[in-house]
Amino acid sequence: MRNLINNYEEVFAIVLFGIGFVTLLFHQNLIKKIIGLNIMDTGLYLFLASMGYIYGGDAPIYAENAGFYINPVPAGLVLTGIVVSVSVTAIMLSLSVRLYKRYGTLNLDEIYLEARNKINER
């Protein structure tokens, strides 16, 4: 329990991850689902970056009078991750635009029923 309070930053990251996950699971709207996935992403990045942080450390850029640096490995991972998450968002958004064009709604249940109807009509 004390460790949870010491690691409060990671706890916040997990809470953000959980909020994103719950949004992803319980919302029927596709745009809300995508926002939830993005929140999950950021929670994960926050977790990684806070694992690499060291109290009093400097940013990992060489300087004359720097004492010691924080861990640069999570920064590199997260840097690539942020840009990839945007492209994933773009793909998901364009897929939902296509779904909307076809079924006229963004609600997953309605899309499911419409698709069933279309199959039955055939």
Binding site: N7, E10, F17, G18, Y53, P60, L79, V86, S94, L113
Partner: protein
């Protein structure tokens, strides 16, 4: 009859449930048409008894399963966090690789920015794959949203902001700053925070702003489809050649044959500067191309 009333009750319940749980957002955002259509939909659902019963059962099962999943995941993750070492302290066993990077990055790669030296020299293949991921994402969006560019655009097809005087005036001042800051961040990736990814994103955002403020036609004249294809091909091809040579020379990344120069000057650290520019252009084109696809469905 009894079954019918029961089904009606079920449908009412499910409607209440979905309304309270998910959102009325679409209904509120959209005019009456939408609501009417949804009511029509519910009528049709009534006719579709079997399908709807199945959906109801599935929704209940789904609700239970999803709750269990979410709670389990969060509890497991919190337990893991409770066992992790304390936040913000130095740990030898966690930081051996990082310590190597910090100690040797300057002499081996010549980059002042350790992160840039890491992602563009030690792990350059990773970044190569990642720029291809970006390019593939752009292609997916292009496949999904591209429309036939011979068909005429109708007036309401896109929203024109170019007559807005505030946006134009602000754009005249801000766009050069944004674009030059993007280029600065891109070129100084090995000396200061930033690099190809950040600079490319800023540059792309500047191009998007340009296209919003001065019209898509102006932006299309500035960044034509030909230029787009050419720059993307050159940037990705250059990256492949620059990092693929090691396949032919025996898998040795670090010796590029280019002198590392004096650390701190702009022409230093070997291949990192041109690779930063290549990655930056790939990211720029991805951002701008995705925007164009969402906006008009073509580069024209």
């Amino acid at each position: 009859m009894k079954i019918k009333t029961k089904i009606k009750e079920f449908v009412e319940q499910s409607r209440e449930w979905t309304e309270s749980f998910s959102d009325m957002s679409e209904k509120r955002d959209l005019p009456r048409e939408r609501v009417r259509r949804e009511e029509h939909m519910v009528d049709r659902l009534m006719e579709e008894k079997a399908g709807h019963m199945g959906l109801l059962k599935w929704r209940r099962l789904y609700l239970v399963l999803a709750t269990v999943c979410a709670v389990t995941l969060i509890v497991v993750l919190l337990t893991t966090v409770a066992m992790l070492p304390v936040f913000g302290e130095h740990h030898e066993y966690m930081d051996t690789v990082a310590q190597y990077y910090i100690d040797h990055a300057l002499e081996e790669t010549g980059a002042m920015n350790i992160v840039a030296g890491m992602i563009l020299d030690y792990r350059a293949f990773d970044t190569l794959g990642e720029s291809f991921v970006l390019f593939t994402a752009l292609n997916c969006v292009l496949i999904l949203l591209r429309r036939d560019f011979q068909e005429e655009y109708r007036l309401h097809d896109y929203y024109d902001l170019t007559r807005d005087p505030i946006l134009r005036r602000v754009g005249m001042v801000v766009i050069p700053c944004v674009v030059s800051f993007g280029v600065y961040v891109m070129l100084n990736g090995h000396l200061s925070p930033g690099g190809g990814f950040s600079g490319g994103a800023i540059f792309g955002a500047g191009l998007i702003f340009l296209s919003l403020a001065f019209g898509d036609d102006f932006a299309a004249r500035l960044v034509s489809e030909k230029l787009f294809k050419g720059v993307a091909a050159v940037a990705l091809g250059f990256y492949c050649l620059a990092k693929g040579y090691s396949f032919f020379t025996g898998a040795n990344h670090l010796e590029s044959g280019i002198s590392l120069g004096t650390p701190g000057s702009i022409f230093s650290s070997g291949l990192i500067l041109p690779l930063n520019v290549a990655v930056g252009f790939v990211v720029t084109l991805t951002m701008y191309g995705i925007y164009r696809m969402f906006r008009r469905g073509s580069f024209k």
